[in-house]
Symmetry: C2
Subunit: 422 residues, 2 copies
């Protein structure tokens, strides 16, 4: 954004809202991708600037890049998340799947149909429910789960850290919202556009994959003075305030670097998904001061307890005049900040009807975090442990981990390095 | 819209998108409500123009009016629909419920919080997850179901036509997506804002109602040359092309007039909800010409078969040079148009995960129609009967009918006339 302003250039393909959203991490990346400007190459290698796909679509995020889209991309208002079971038996067939998905993903992210109808006597190549919509900032993010490496022998390409998460205190994990061989995360500013993307990608893979589970989610992105704020979860607290900002920070926290992982995953990231039921009725009977003590932040401002600004430093050791901790040591944020690990939160709320037996909302958080190693999440979750006051109000019911590939270069395909013989 | 242009007045409270959407039915109503202009009173009684609540909220629809909002209001991109079971035992308590909901509904539709927090030691009066969002064109529409009149004796105020729908061929109705004593339809251009409204209204009624079922839904509203188009369902066909346009037509089809219903329902409408599962995988294996023969329209344009424009007249008797019907007599639209009844469709798509046993999408249409009498829907549905080609691709799994009150006058409350002793 800063570089944009310096250059005085505003690309027509980038909508006002999209530009406004480009204040967080990933912003420069998208702007470069979309506009192809040459003056600000310092952040990224030239390779990736050259990967622009020349689409003139409105409200589009570039598919190509050093990292996959949908990770540091500013959160859109909708997600459709799908976890797939692979049915094919050979690595060649599996590779073919990703090869087939790649041009489709480019088309979808450009807001274009998968292919033109050539003949009325055949089923439409595109299911069509997104016709007339622009790209709606659709991002598609692909990852592979631990179970895929049990089905296929990738030898020493299997990363040791790619395994199902351990059991955490109070977990009540249900298989039908957990795990999977492949994940596709579709995020967009329109729910139907996100669903359309998943539907068409699954359709292309018909007979080769089946859906294990899927979940729709949403985010309210508040705009203040024309700038997007941090979304609030269904407990009304801001979610993502502490996220890494800027590519350098993301490279430290989110994207695996060359010395840190298997070569096919360099520039990739681990996605952790947790379907967290939130007991809204219990929460709604809780006093505001107790809610704030549970999070360790003020609700309305998002500021650390005792401070006023959302982005004021979270100093968990800070004490009041009586020598007592200002941020309670059983609060969510105190425990999370008690360890060194950080991660990028990119969660969405869900509301999936009513729990029959009680008439309560079946609602909560499709927690999604990205980190270069699952141990970052595990360390934080272990710190929360049984101490976290939040445990009274939530139940983790789904769990999944996926290794998300690095970004795709033009001419390549999703996950190519996993299949290469290097 | 036309009147707006003639007067050359554009109200600041009405966003560009909102204005652009005001091309269909109800448009003038909202514009008048929001702007308080006096020059175009001919369509509505002056009473209702005076009902503007003076909110300065952005992207707001007026709560007050001759008819409830959310009926002829242009379709927003999200719905959260809730069906409630009433727990209170007396009509006085029931009346109190609607009295309590009225100011809350006004606040919600203005994008304001339910009430201010006066004291940190109590639960927040507003659950807060919509904080920072504007009104997002939220509409709230309240109705009462047949079962309410079994719980409470309203004497001859019970309309004879308010009863559960009959069984139709191929119906597979499940109780957990059907019926209810009260419905609240929340529609908005943001999913979290719609959910927030239902959550807070149910919370206000805690102990007095419980949720029977709820369903989230979405619509992609395509914009062409700055104007909103007809949304497409998940079969990619436009849904709502034949809707009544303008208040006069709505008064003919949608809103019960004084000679047509019980006095408390004059200006009201019947809402019919059908949760229709769409077998997307079967549909997606069907040739385009067969899909079009199923609807009786062309997919991309929405035009009647053999024509080119979405709004070209649907002449079901038209024959080709061989003397054969151009629009197949087993098509959905042929059968629907074979009877005189009309209705206002205001449906939303849903995607609720995966059907465990098959890995198929659990997705479809939350069909919602408004009509002055349920017999309009019944006549059309009976005509579709077993003949409708669409039956191969859909299964009706939920069914509900609600009598939606007329609009609320300032100083009154939702449903007041039902409780009056007149």
């Amino acid at each position: 954004m800063t570089e944009e302003k310096k250059n005085g250039v505003m690309d027509k393909k980038v909508s006002r809202r999209n530009m406004l959203k480009m204040t967080g991490i990933g912003a420069a990346g998208i702007a470069i991708g979309a506009s192809g400007m040459g003056g600000i190459l310092s952040t990224f290698g030239k390779d990736f600037v050259a990967e622009d796909d020349d689409s003139t679509a409105k409200n589009k995020v570039n598919f190509y890049g050093k990292n996959q889209p949908g990770i540091t991309t500013p959160a859109q208002s909708n997600i459709y998340f799908a976890s797939l079971t692979v049915l094919v038996k050979t690595k060649e067939e599996l590779q073919k799947l990703f090869k087939d998905w790649t041009p489709a993903a480019v088309k979808l992210m450009n807001g274009e149909k998968i292919a033109a109808q050539t003949n009325d006597m055949v089923p439409p190549p595109d299911t069509g429910e997104a016709k007339g919509m622009d790209a709606q900032n659709l991002t598609l993010t692909f990852g592979v789960g631990p179970s895929l490496f049990k089905k296929f022998d990738f030898g020493d390409k299997k990363p040791a850290e790619l395994k199902n998460l351990p059991h955490f205190p109070k977990d009540q994990i249900e298989e039908n919202y957990s795990h999977g061989d492949i994940c596709i995360q579709a995020c967009a500013d329109d729910a139907q556009v996100a669903f359309h993307a998943i539907r068409n990608l699954v359709r292309i893979a018909s007979g080769r994959v089946t859906m294990k589970w899927s979940q729709a989610g949403f985010n309210a992105v508040p705009m203040t003075d024309g700038k997007p704020g941090t979304p609030r979860n269904l407990f009304a607290f801001k979610d993502g305030t502490e996220n890494p900002r800027g590519q350098a920070d993301a490279d430290k926290v989110v994207f695996a670097q060359s010395s840190e992982t298997k070569s096919w995953l360099v520039g990739g990231s681990y996605l952790i998904a947790r379907r967290i039921q939130m007991h809204l009725e219990t929460w709604d009977r809780t006093a505001l001061d107790e809610q704030e003590a549970t999070f360790g932040r003020h609700r309305d401002s998002g500021a650390p307890i005792g401070k006023t600004g959302e982005f004021d430093a979270m100093e968990i050791d800070r004490k009041d005049e009586k020598g007592e901790l200002v941020v309670p040591d059983t609060s969510h944020v105190f425990l999370a900040k008690s360890v060194k690990s950080r991660l990028l939160r990119r969660s969405f709320s869900y509301a999936s009807g009513v729990i029959d037996s009680t008439g309560a909302h079946d609602a909560g958080l499709l927690f999604i975090s990205f980190q270069k190693d699952p141990k970052q999440f595990i360390e934080i979750q272990n710190s929360l442990g049984r101490m976290d006051k939040m445990n009274e109000y939530i139940t983790h019911r789904g769990s999944a981990v996926f290794a998300c590939f690095p970004g795709v270069k033009k001419g390549s395909f999703i996950g190519e390095a996993l299949f290469s013989t290097l």
